[in-house]
């Protein structure tokens, strides 16, 4: 925030889905509709690892309003900001066999074990309302937010083995699964199933180098020049207490289903041979209702961006990112930063990790006195090609008044 502006409003939105092994052709049909045929299922399954496949989709958006004041803490260097955010993250780690039983079934695995675990599913939806303090000269910012928990579901199937007997006489499921669910008030945005807090911290460190200038033969002046900025950003460090009668299930059992046992086929009453309730009741034990805490999917981001000038229109960008409780791998990226115009720059990066393997990203920045905006994509190929894996788009807008 420049000292010349009294109010600055930042808005952002991020939406993505990505899964290593799950092509856009598959995901497009899964998300946007269409028939997933056997060929597509087979092609997709061939790309999957036996274990540890990742899939996530999420959406987040928010707004932050900075207000310049000279009276905060009696120090003209401090500004304050209020923020409101909506964050939804669905992530999972799954085995190839879990994919197979969902999309192809178990009919071709008769007489075999299907290792459905270890598999994990996490879903969290929450909103934040926070207050931030920003130090103008040190480029740092600290905030604390109240978190309203909308919905939470977590399944941790450390072991889940499905065995179909070779003569189909029984199906057995051996599992050690832990499940939590906090959705008593429903899953809509108004649902208040938990409460918590979140901290965020941002610190930007300008990188300067000495610039030797010779004004005469006998005298040399030394000046510093800013060549870039390293920014450390931590967001959503906190937790939510799910306290609206959430359910917890602990399933550590071997369940075997052998069909309906008929004593005498010629003398049976009218019975329901396939009763889903009976089956689910026997697999799923009674839940334990007690409050629990979950750690928020905190984001850690460290990024270096070189400063672009007319004389140096080409720079670099590099960084690393990790998110807790999100079934993702640490992500590192690096690339070039190009000044296209006085108000326009772009960067192209390569990304390793996250929910994908290797992807390409692009970002376009616009900057004027009153408006700054950016649009970026961490998966360019995925955005335009069916052969890509996932889609990602980030939008940001800053308005200065």
């Amino acid at each position: 925030m420049d000292s010349t502006n009294s109010v600055v409003i930042n808005g952002y939105a991020n939406a993505f889905y990505q899964g290593q092994g799950l092509s856009n052709e598959f995901m497009n049909k899964l998300i946007f509709g269409g028939y997933i045929d056997d060929q597509l299922k087979d092609q997709t399954e061939q790309k999957l690892l036996n274990f540890g496949n990742r899939l996530a989709f999420g959406f987040s958006t928010g707004i932050k309003c900075y207000v310049a004041t000279d009276r905060l803490l009696n120090n003209p260097n401090w500004n304050f900001a209020v923020n409101a955010d909506y964050i939804e993250l669905n992530s999972s780690t799954y085995s190839k066999d879990l994919f197979h039983i969902i999309f192809s079934g178990n009919a071709d695995r008769i007489g075999q074990n299907m290792e459905l675990g270890p598999s994990y599913i996490n879903r969290i939806v929450f909103q934040k309302l926070g207050l931030n303090l920003a130090h103008k000269s040190n480029n740092c910012e600290f905030g604390v937010s109240f978190v309203k928990g909308q919905s939470h579901f977590a399944l941790a199937a450390n072991q889940m083995t499905l065995h179909t007997e070779s003569d189909l006489s029984a199906i057995s499921l051996e599992t050690n699964t832990y499940m939590q669910s906090a959705n008593k008030q429903g899953n809509k945005i108004g649902a208040f199933n938990g409460a918590g807090f979140a901290l965020n911290f941002t610190y930007s460190l300008p990188i300067k180098v000495k610039n030797h200038q010779s004004s005469s033969l006998s005298k040399e002046t030394v000046a510093t020049k800013e060549i870039g900025t390293i920014t450390l950003q931590m967001d959503n460090i906190g937790a939510v207490a799910w306290n609206n009668s959430p359910s917890t299930y602990q399933i550590d059992t071997t369940y075997s289903y052998a069909g309906y046992e008929v004593d005498n086929l010629f003398n049976i009453d009218n019975v329901n041979w396939v009763d889903e309730n009976t089956i689910s009741d026997s697999i799923l034990p009674q839940p334990r209702v007690s409050n629990y805490w979950t750690v928020l999917p905190a984001v850690f981001n460290l990024v270096y961006v070189s400063k672009l000038t007319t004389s140096h229109p080409l720079g670099s960008v590099a960084g690393a990112r990790y998110q807790l409780n999100a079934d993702m791998k640490p992500m590192v990226y690096g690339g070039v930063n190009i000044r296209l115009h006085r108000k326009l720059s772009t960067s192209v990066i390569g990304i390793v990790g996250g929910y994908g393997t290797i992807t390409t990203g692009i970002r376009i920045n616009y900057s004027s006195n009153l408006i700054r905006a950016f649009a970026s994509c961490n998966n360019v190929i995925g955005l335009i090609s069916k052969k890509g894996y996932g889609k990602n788009i980030n939008l940001g807008l800053q308005c200065r008044f």
Binding site: A15, I31, K41, G105, N106, Y260, A375, L397
Partner: protein, 524 residues
């Protein structure tokens, strides 16, 4: 600024607002559905099987085909006996309280369906009475039956009759349960039959405050009727009625499910047993015994059919009767019983005649009856389960209920894994009950479960394993899930035809019914 915001939301809409149709995919799920083990007891009922020392089995069917309704012998007339009691003198009398002005004994003889009874005891029945009084004062009246006693106490009913105005009668009505009453029907002199003795008396209520003027016009009428008389015991002469047992039929269990094919049965035995506890001389004539199926009738031929059979009267000690048992046996050698049964009868029809006391009252009114010792006829059919079946086709309905939404099921297979220890093969077809009430849609073509492996003596030495796959399409699955009845049609063939095979008590078939469903997942 506005343009930028529009762009911002347009991109978001582009990203998330593109869902146009449902997401669908097919997956094939294999599930066990039913497991069952069937032995011959499941099919024929354990109580109908005899296990022999060598573990072979016989089907034993015992049924009562006739029981004599003895109550009909002793039907009392459906009339009301009416007696009028009045003063014997024509004079008008002024009678004080406590004075008995009528006391009369009478005998009534009943006609009891040709029988001449000396005694009977009732296990049910009601005596209805109605007393109509024109006496202009309250009376206490008694109806006494000296011939009827219960535990040694004679029947006596005391009635309190209110005052009549001499024009409108006072009426008292009621009924008495006659259960347990014994009746001596020999009259007051002990020599008569069907005769009951009774007494009636009428006394001015001693509590009445004044005299009552009575003339011959002040009569008392007593109407008595019997209802629902059910004798427990009787003694006398029961007449010589000819009792017709009209053509009737009895269903043969399990046979109704056989719709076609042929059965070659080895030795069979049919016993018709008449057990007589009725103390009369009797002749029985079994007029006909027929094997009926939907297309043909085979009449049983035997030396006893159509010929009167004399039944000896049983002896009794006190009222304990030693029933006489008469058995007529039918076998392959003495009759056409194998042909009779190989007709695969769904019913057996019969008619007969019973002649009571064909030689008259030769026992001097010594006929007796105790309801605990009736006359009844039973059949006992014993068929060793040693036979040859050629395309013997059984069909039966099977109630099912599968309350599932089948919208997403595209097709499927029902897989029957059978381990068969029976020396019979079975071809299975299943039909779904249609809305019109007909079983028209076969959900499966004929497929065969192989018979067990036999040795040269046609004995089972090991089981056979068969897998039958019934493929059903979406339409058939929908109907299968929605119907509440399946028609199962099974065609049996014994192994090594035309040789006969024996069914043993350890023969069984283990069935696993499994399904593979092609399920279409849909995400809207």
């Amino acid at each position: 600024m506005r343009k930028l915001l529009c762009l911002y939301f347009s991109i978001l809409l582009l990203f998330f607002g593109c869902r146009k149709e449902s997401t669908t995919w097919d997956a094939d799920y294999a599930l066990p559905l039913i497991h069952t083990k069937l032995d011959i007891g499941n099919l024929l009922g354990d109580t109908n099987l005899l296990v022999h020392a060598d573990s072979s089995l016989s089907l034993s069917i015992q049924r009562e085909i006739y029981r004599m309704d003895v109550d009909s012998f002793f039907e009392t007339p459906d009339t009301t006996i009416s007696q009028i009691h009045k003063l014997l003198t024509p004079a008008t009398l002024s009678i004080g309280p406590g004075f008995t002005f009528i006391s009369e004994a009478e005998e009534s003889t009943y006609s009891i369906a040709g029988a001449e009874l000396k005694y009977f005891m009732l296990k049910g029945g009601v005596l209805n009475y109605e007393l109509i009084s024109y006496v202009t004062g309250p009376t206490i009246d008694s109806i006494i039956l000296p011939c009827a006693t219960k535990a040694g106490v004679e029947f006596s009913e005391v009635l309190y009759v209110p005052t009549s105005d001499g024009i409108t009668p006072a009426i008292v009505a009621g009924s008495v349960d006659l259960n347990g009453y014994e009746f001596d029907l020999t009259g007051s002199n002990g020599l008569k039959y069907n005769t009951m003795t009774s007494k009636a008396s009428s006394t001015i209520d001693p509590a009445f405050s004044s005299n009552v003027t009575i003339s011959q016009a002040d009569s008392i009428r007593i109407n008595v009727s019997f209802q629902d008389i059910s004798p427990a015991r009787a003694l006398g002469y029961f007449g010589n009625d000819l009792i017709e047992i009209p053509l009737d039929s009895v269903a043969i269990p399990y046979m109704e499910n056989i719709v076609s094919g042929s059965l070659d049965i080895d030795q069979v035995q049919l016993d018709v047993t008449i057990k007589n506890g009725l103390g009369v001389d009797m002749q029985v004539n079994i007029e006909q015994l027929n094997s009926l199926n939907t297309t043909s009738i085979v009449a049983l031929t035997h030396s006893s059919i159509g010929i009167p059979i004399n039944l000896t009267r049983p002896m009794k000690t006190g009222w304990t009767v030693a029933s006489e048992i008469h058995t007529e046996s039918f076998s392959n050698s003495t009759s056409n019983l194998d042909e009779f049964l190989e007709n695969l009868p769904k019913e057996m029809s019969y008619s007969a005649q019973l002649q009571l006391n064909p030689f008259g009252d030769v026992n001097s009114h010594g006929d007796f009856f105790n309801y605990e010792y009736p006359l009844h006829a039973n059949i006992n059919l014993e068929v060793p389960l040693c036979f040859a079946a050629n395309k013997l086709t059984l069909q039966d309905t099977l109630p099912i209920q599968i309350d599932q939404d089948t919208t997403n099921i595209q097709s499927g297979s029902i897989i029957i894994n059978a381990v068969n220890n029976f020396p019979l093969s079975a071809e299975i077809q299943a039909f779904v009950l249609e809305e019109n009430g007909l079983f028209t849609d076969s959900i499966a073509t004929s497929t065969t479960i192989e018979p067990a492996v036999l040795n040269l003596s046609n004995e089972v030495i090991s089981s056979s394993t068969s897998q039958v796959i019934l493929t059903v399409n979406k339409d058939q699955i929908t109907r299968l899930m929605q119907t509440d009845q399946l028609l199962i049609k099974v065609v049996f063939n014994t192994a090594n035809l035309p040789s006969m095979i024996k069914i043993m008590d350890w023969h069984d078939i283990d069935l696993n019914l499994n399904v593979i469903l092609n399920y279409q997942h849909t995400i809207n």
